[in-house]
């Protein structure tokens, strides 16, 4: 119960931050959605980083490391430590500049203006909003799972009290919790909704910065405490290495090289996520990006290394967990290897990452308000105050829908899988469109449209193939299975993914997207000289 109390204390603090930000706010859309473009370098770094770190970074990565070994760090973190800061350096700075010059508050406003086309913006709104929603659901799912795990009822012997529950028509034994997954998810959704509702971008950025500092501080403490309790990690690692069942966890044998290579392209998604690109517009000065791009890789290292490493350690401590069960191995380790207060503080730190869905909720609200409500005449008809309240009401709606979806998806799929399948590849494949818009005068709305349609079809196609081949998916460690015999193994099913010639779909998606932007743009008429002069002054 103590860990849960500490977490509730933490939730109260972030709620207060939202209220404090509310007091500082002014009744304008730019202030609510972009904090008046006034975020300083320190908060900018930590809020941007915190926004990118979700339940996926902590629970997903450690759960995946439990299943697939140390290669998970290189799979997502190492490439992110280069690709994300590089895209912030190249794209984020230019987005910031255009936003400052022309008053853009979203990617969609930039695309509409750059290509002189309202419809292309509406299409991008629909596409990006749909791909962002699963990300929001992950936050609520992670919050529910975290609160449930931290509130496990312990008996006099220090072991969890077990109760009989009905699952899928069968009676199984499960640990009893003070706070259920459903209630935990509701609490997290309510708290996030409240401080986003009140504080807007200012509150969200402050909370994210606070959360990032909290996690960076206590991640190291968790690592130390678990290490101390285990008498160091040397023996555990040697034990894992000596067991033929687990030895491959210390290598990258469980990750095919083509899949590892493909993952390099996934972090391209970061700058295309609306919440990240919108956050780029909040910086007071462009020089804020300097510290951010240099320290970003260090922050990734500080969070991902303990997560992946402890995920592998958990394979020794809790053998035999399935993919869904292994998502909370970090929490299991904390519960086992630290006292109640420390576990609570560390649980709060994990909640910090889990609750990063705040900026996604705010981004959805910003997009709806600016790209739909204001764009189609709402601001002119009802005024700026109504614009802000529209955004706030949208926040309430999104939080409610996310909670309901999290209830329906409980125990269906691993957190990591859900995010990666529907959002990351799609956003990564839109990066060439942004690159063309920013740096290639000759790019056209038709090129962007072709790429966007391709991305939508590819995401849906991958989703369909994934569902279609669920029955023939090989077990972990088994070779991939061809999906259509006539294609000679071009499309294959691995235990977790559909692959194209051995590569993840993100690779052909990005390449074809770039090719379409280039070819279709060359075949169609560019925007007017006046627009080009605005974006590419001589």
């Amino acid at each position: 119960m103590i860990p849960a109390i500490v977490v509730f204390l933490y939730l109260a603090i972030v709620l207060y931050v939202g209220i404090f930000a509310f007091r500082k706010s002014r009744p304008s859309g730019e202030d609510y959605f972009l904090a008046g473009r006034s975020i300083g370098p320190f908060v900018f770094l930590f809020s941007l980083f915190g926004t990118n770190m979700t339940a996926f970074a902590i629970l997903g990565s450690s759960g995946l490391a439990y299943q697939r070994g140390i290669g998970v760090y290189g799979l997502m973190a190492a490439c992110s430590s280069f690709v994300i800061p590089f895209t912030l350096f190249l794209i984020g700075t230019r987005l910031w500049a255009h936003g400052k010059r022309f008053g853009h508050m979203t990617q969609v406003q930039f695309f509409r203006d750059r290509w002189e086309c309202s419809a292309i913006g509406t299409l991008f709104f629909a596409l990006t909003a749909l791909m962002l929603v699963p990300y929001v659901i992950i936050g609520v799912m992670g919050g529910g799972a975290t609160l449930e795990a931290l509130s496990t009822v312990l008996g006099p012997d220090g072991q969890p009290v077990m109760v009989e529950v009905l699952r899928g028509g069968q009676t199984v034994l499960e640990a009893r919790h003070w706070v259920s997954y459903e209630v935990g998810g509701a609490i997290v959704a309510l708290v996030v909704m409240s401080y986003v509702f009140l504080g807007g971008m200012r509150g969200t950025a402050w909370v994210n910065a606070f959360q990032t500092i909290l996690f960076l501080s206590f991640g190291a403490v968790a690592f130390y405490l678990i290490s101390r309790n285990l008498g160091g990690f040397d023996q555990v690692m040697r034990r894992l290495g000596a067991d033929p069942e687990t030895a491959s966890l210390l290598t990258r044998q469980r990750i095919p090289q083509a899949e590892f290579f493909s993952y390099f392209f996934i972090p391209l998604s970061s700058i295309m996520f609306p919440h990240i690109s919108i956050m780029c517009l909040t910086a007071r000065r462009v020089s804020s990006f300097k510290h951010t791009v240099i320290f970003y890789p260090v922050c990734i290292l500080a969070i991902w290394l303990p997560s992946v490493y402890l995920g592998v350690i958990a394979a020794d401590q809790f053998p035999g967990l399935t993919a869904g069960e292994s998502d909370d191995v970090i929490l299991r380790l904390l519960t086992l290897h630290s006292d109640a207060w420390v576990a609570g503080i560390l649980g709060a730190a994990i909640m910090a990452c889990v609750m990063a869905s705040d900026s996604q909720i705010l981004a959805l609200s910003t997009m709806f308000t600016e790209d739909i409500f204001a764009h189609y005449g709402g601001r002119q008809r009802f005024g700026g105050v109504a614009e802000v309240w529209t955004g706030r009401l949208f926040v309430v709606g999104v939080a409610l829908v996310a909670w309901l979806a999290a209830l329906g998806l409980k125990d269906r799929v691993g957190i990591f899988e859900l995010a990666i399948r529907f959002a990351f590849s799609g956003f990564a494949a839109l990066a060439p469109v942004m690159l063309a818009a920013l740096f290639w005068k000759r790019s056209t709305k038709w090129g962007a449209l072709a790429a966007a349609l391709w991305v939508a079809c590819a995401v849906l196609g991958t989703w369909y193939l994934h569902g279609l081949t669920r029955e023939i998916a090989p077990a972990p460690g088994q070779p991939p299975v061809p999906i259509f015999a006539g294609l000679g193994g071009l499309l294959q099913r691995t235990p977790g993914n559909v692959t194209v010639a051995g590569f993840l779909p993100v690779l052909p998606m990005v390449l074809v997207s770039a090719l379409l932007v280039w070819a279709v743009s060359l075949a169609t008429r560019p925007p007017s000289a006046a627009t080009l002069d605005r974006y590419f002054p001589r």
């Binding site: 280069f82 022309f102 990690f233 290598t251 462009v286 791009v293």
Partner: protein, 85 residues
């Protein structure tokens, strides 16, 4: 906004990307379970080194390839809402 550089700059970026992709794909340690510092698998140590290299690369880009033209915007007043699309 002026273009950030000519084709040489883009060739440089491409070369940097190819180098970073190649370094990350360190297949020579793919199946090596050797522990360094007692408890760190070498395949993980190499990827940690990669992250540190990435920080150094970004520091170099900031030092030698920073888009100075954007700094000028900081001194300019942002146009009023009339310029908003």
């Amino acid at each position: 906004m002026r273009r950030s550089g000519g084709s040489r700059r883009w060739v440089g970026y491409l070369a940097l990307w190819l180098a970073m992709i190649a370094l990350r794909q360190d297949f020579w340690w793919w199946k090596d379970a050797t522990l360094v510092f007692g408890s760190l698998p070498i395949g993980l140590a190499s990827q940690v080194g990669y992250s540190i290299l990435a920080a150094l690369v970004m520091g170099s880009l900031v030092r030698w390839d920073w888009p100075e033209e954007l700094e000028r915007l900081e001194r300019d007043d942002r146009p009023a809402a009339r310029d908003r699309p």
